[in-house]
């Protein structure tokens, strides 16, 4: 028995795929007639979307009073849902940008998918700050536009930074996604047989030919965008956390918030990607591309970020005690034992305990268990935002003004309705756009590498892996 064991890197694409079988596997979904099940899902998603529209319509008609907000809890489900959805979006950018910079080729199987999720999640997030302002017809006041008051926005306010951060994030994510889509849209354009598809995909693929002079600039643009999106994604959740951290409320006014929010965002986003991926790959038969190795890698990311979040929870407690500030200490004890202890312990169980199961290889390679944990994690992250937002407000400096906050049916319907928006967009994406970055996945299979071809016969040969011989240990 040797002490050393060579563990080869698992193949990124399983099965015996060549370029054209990958093309067919991925673009046939967009070209074949719409399956009946898709319509059924679409009806369900649209019904939920209508619920959202109705809930927002009533809100605009009647006012913010229909929500469960009270004094002192002036920030309720709207901000919780906003932070939760934005956080989910962050995994898409992490996968598409940060893993790209780290040359993690396994990202190619899931990046399109995750970026789509980012864009739709940010859409859902954007709904809440827009509607919670009360007078939605003057929402344009948040932008530096000339208005009848002749005033400009307050550039010292984190809420305004948020406007810039989230709208920049949405725009850049969208551009990044579109740049990645162009070559794949050209593939569909060239495979389409009917006029309508030819014209529509033709327009959006901009006349892409696959020219290597174009690829040259394209790859440069992709790298620059990845380099821009990386600090951007970190800045967005940092600024979201500033909404809390820059205020003077106990439990909010802490410097740990930015890194802790970003870790939590990646944690919940990866869970959401897994939830969607495990279902989609089953339905669309993508197991060769979105393999169990991918799932395992993502579970490890969940384990790491989940542990970071757990560490942050403990650090918050420590700093509250270490600071010696009475209010700070009180709020953290109240979180764990006060009126919202049920939410606090739900958060602790879902976020700190549940990812720890992924230390076991058996569990992190199990599809069913991963799916279960991915949902638990997202429930936990929702509770995290709930705990942060509500506990600090409900039990503020003055005990005589303490009050218990509960949502009304309209809070619930608006939140549930955003899932309608999300899934409507996601179903449209699955139906009409290639759900895997086709050009990128082709580039990472062994057939794509010119070094895997014989110099004289120019025939493909499987890459030979040289197993390094273990060196004799120095005594």
């Amino acid at each position: 028995m040797s002490k050393y064991q060579y563990v080869p890197e698992p193949a990124l694409v399983k099965g015996d795929h060549d370029f054209s079988s990958l093309t067919r596997l991925i673009t046939d979904i967009n070209l074949r007639p719409t399956p009946k099940a898709w319509y059924l899902c679409m009806i369900a998603a649209n019904s939920l979307l209508l619920v959202m529209v109705a809930a927002i319509g009533y809100l605009i008609w009647e006012g913010i009073g229909i929500w469960g907000l009270n004094n002192p809890v002036g920030w309720g489900w709207a901000i919780i849902n906003f932070v939760w959805w934005v956080g989910i979006g962050h995994a898409g950018t992490l996968i598409s940008a940060i893993l790209f910079l780290f040359r993690q080729d396994w990202r190619t199987a899931i990046n399109r998918f995750a970026e789509a999720m980012t864009i739709f999640a940010v859409m859902c997030a954007g709904v809440f700050p827009a509607i919670h302002v009360g007078r939605i017809w003057v929402i344009y006041w948040v932008f530096p536009l000339p208005n009848s008051m002749q005033m400009w926005p307050n550039f010292n306010s984190p809420l305004l930074w948020d406007v810039f951060a989230v709208s920049t994030y949405f725009t850049v994510s969208f551009l990044f996604w579109y740049v990645g889509l162009v070559p794949d849209l050209a593939t569909i354009r060239d495979r389409a047989t009917d006029k309508v598809r030819k014209v529509i995909y033709g327009i959006f693929s901009l006349g892409w030919t696959g020219s290597n002079r174009h690829w040259w600039n394209y790859e440069k643009a992709y790298m620059i965008l990845a380099g821009l999106a990386t600090p951007l994604v970190l800045s967005v959740h940092t600024i979201v956390s500033f909404d809390f951290a820059v205020s003077m409320i106990p439990g909010w006014h802490t410097t740990i918030f930015p890194p802790y929010f970003v870790a939590g965002a990646i944690f919940s986003g990866f869970a959401m990607v897994l939830t969607l991926m495990l279902v989609a790959r089953k339905i669309y038969g993508m197991e060769d591309i979105m393999t169990n190795d991918h799932m395992e890698k993502m579970n490890i990311v969940i384990l790491v970020t989940g542990s970071m979040v757990g560490f942050a929870y403990m650090m918050e407690f420590f700093i509250a005690w270490y600071s010696g500030v009475e209010y700070e200490k009180a709020i953290f004890i109240l979180r764990a034992t006060g009126p919202y202890a049920w939410a606090y312990w739900a958060m602790m169980t879902c976020n700190v305990l549940s990812p720890q199961f992924f230390w076991f290889k058996k569990l992190r390679t199990s599809v069913g268990f991963t799916f279960f944990i991915s949902i638990v994690v997202n429930i936990g992250m929702w509770f995290e935002r709930f705990v942060i937002t509500v506990t600090s407000l409900a039990n503020d400096y003055l005990p005589s003004s303490w009050d218990y906050y509960s949502p009304t049916i309209w809070d619930v319907l608006t939140y549930v309705g955003t899932f309608g928006l999300f899934f409507t967009m996601f179903l449209l994406f699955l139906r009409f756009l290639p759900m895997v970055a086709l050009a990128e996945i082709k580039a990472v299979i062994p057939l794509a590498d010119p070094h895997n071809y014989d110099e004289d016969t120019k025939e493909f040969h499987k890459p030979q892996v040289e197993v390094p011989k273990p060196q004799a240990e120095k005594v």
């Binding site: 060549d18 370029f19 054209s20 093309t23 530096p144 005033m151 400009w152 926005p153 307050n154 550039f155 010292n156 984190p158 930074w161 810039f164 951060a165 920049t168 725009t171 850049v172 551009l175 990044f176 579109y178 070559p183 050209a186 593939t187 354009r189 060239d190 495979r191 033709g202 327009i203 901009l206 006349g207 030919t209 696959g210 020219s211 290597n212 002079r213 174009h214 690829w215 040259w216 600039n217 394209y218 790859e219 440069k220 643009a221 620059i224 965008l225 821009l228 951007l232 800045s235 600024i239 050009a439 082709k442 580039a443 057939l447 794509a448 590498d449 010119p450 071809y453 120019k458 493909f460």
Partner: protein, 182 residues
């Protein structure tokens, strides 16, 4: 002389190859033979193609840098005008020119403008959108976005001679050679 009149409407000659390796080799052959208006087409970017085709470094970085500068100075100028010149407001006794608080927006606008520069600059450098391309007249060329590897030498190239080009492609092992007309 006679070839020139014949070639009036000719766009170039396109050849199909079996795999990325052959395409890299023919790209090398084309650039070594002194052609300048040639191109290769593949469904994905091929590693090492830039060297084989002798491509110069992309200018995109400079475009992005210019946009980044625009976003940076533009953000400062906007906030300075609005918060210091046009309507100064005393907000909790902070200075009108409150530099630390402006950092997030300066950063976001720098990134936003840089991203515009990267995306639209790339399309600009590539001459896209370009919906009418003579190469689309070649039925086989549809494979270039699926599993086909193509090389093309344009008729506008100074060294372009139909027979010579075809010979080059044949020697490189092309499976299919076709003349392309506008």
């Amino acid at each position: 002389m006679s070839t020139q009149t014949e070639n009036k409407d000719m766009y170039g000659i396109v050849a199909e190859f079996k795999n990325p390796k052959e395409l890299i080799d023919v790209a090398q052959a084309m650039s070594k033979s002194g052609f300048s208006k040639f191109d290769t087409f593949s469904p994905f970017p091929i590693h090492g193609m830039d060297k084989a085709m002798n491509l110069k470094k992309s200018k995109l970085g400079w475009i992005v840098l210019g946009h980044a500068f625009l976003g940076f100075t533009g953000a400062i100028a906007m906030m300075y005008f609005m918060a210091v010149i046009d309507y100064p407001m005393n907000i909790s006794g902070k200075p009108f020119f409150n530099a630390p608080a402006w950092v997030p927006i300066i950063f976001e606008l720098t990134v936003l403008l840089s991203a515009f520069g990267a995306v639209f600059g790339m399309f600009f450098l590539n001459g896209l959108p370009k919906f009418n391309n003579p190469l689309f007249n070649v039925a086989r060329f549809k494979k270039a976005t699926d599993d086909g590897f193509f090389a093309c030498i344009e008729a506008e190239d100074d060294m372009f001679e139909s027979d010579k080009v075809k010979k080059l492609f044949e020697d490189a092992g092309a499976t299919h050679i076709e003349e392309v007309y506008e």
